[in-house]
Symmetry: C2
Subunit: 146 residues, 2 copies
Amino acid sequence: MRDLTIDYLLRSTWMAVAKMYNEEAGKKGSTMSTGFALLSIDPENGTPSTSLGPKMGMEATSLSRTLKTMEEKGLITRKKNPEDGRSVLIGLTDFGVEMREFSKEVVFKFDNAVKDTIPSDKLDTFIEVFHAINDLISNKKIYNSK
Amino acid sequence: MRDLTIDYLLRSTWMAVAKMYNEEAGKKGSTMSTGFALLSIDPENGTPSTSLGPKMGMEATSLSRTLKTMEEKGLITRKKNPEDGRSVLIGLTDFGVEMREFSKEVVFKFDNAVKDTIPSDKLDTFIEVFHAINDLISNKKIYNSK
DNA sequence: AATTTTTATTATGCATGCATAATAAAAATC
DNA sequence: GATTTTTATTATGCATGCATAATAAAAATT
């Protein structure tokens, strides 16, 4: 049956988490993706634009629209690197730092709830299997190459 | 660190699977979401429109646009229930049945790859933890209710 | 029977991930 | 030094999940 496959578990569970996170973020006029981006920006030294996507486990280009919105909302600043006119350093504003703290709370409340509920040996296995699945995908042996 | 949280594992892994699935579906001019919808439609008797979303672990209304596209592409038919003018039965066309088989292959190739790679006791734990996390989310004790 | 409520469904605006294309600047090559 | 290639980034079209609103038909209530 459909609901006994691994992809179904991954997808439906992730969507449930995403919905919950978006509800929480919405209480402060934000979104889950914005919160995740905030968490990936170094509050001290900033973070190069291009490294944000990969840090979040996604494509490098996928954030451009979100970053634009975040700048308009006053969460981040963009500074050109004077030594390399191509690269842009994303930094947090004070408001960005504040919202980052909120995102951290949302994430850690969920994370702690999980870690308080699941025995640590099971959690270790859970994490281990995730890594094995990611390896499987990276190795690309699942489908015909063409 | 960000990449040590459960949400990060869920999200990044799911996104990697989704990307892979979309690449596969793209080879036949389809998409992952269309494939998932096809898999949730009973090829014999059809499936009521509203039960599709929940079957896929998502909101009931979230599929309307995808179903419209699927009808335009000749994958599905929509029949009004003569006994209840509100409900619509989604059925598969021959082309829909054919594409459903393809989706099944894509899903099972991944599923089998995972199940061939991970020892079954670990996989059992993996699945068990997923269910525990879903319960946690359903019980809504993680965030303040307001 | 007329009105209200509920249920099933579709429509639409927003956010966002990806693919691809467009820019622009640095690096490499000629 | 001029040209080509590579690298960093932004822009844009498509697909899609959600929230909300709009329809429409059945069921419940008056």
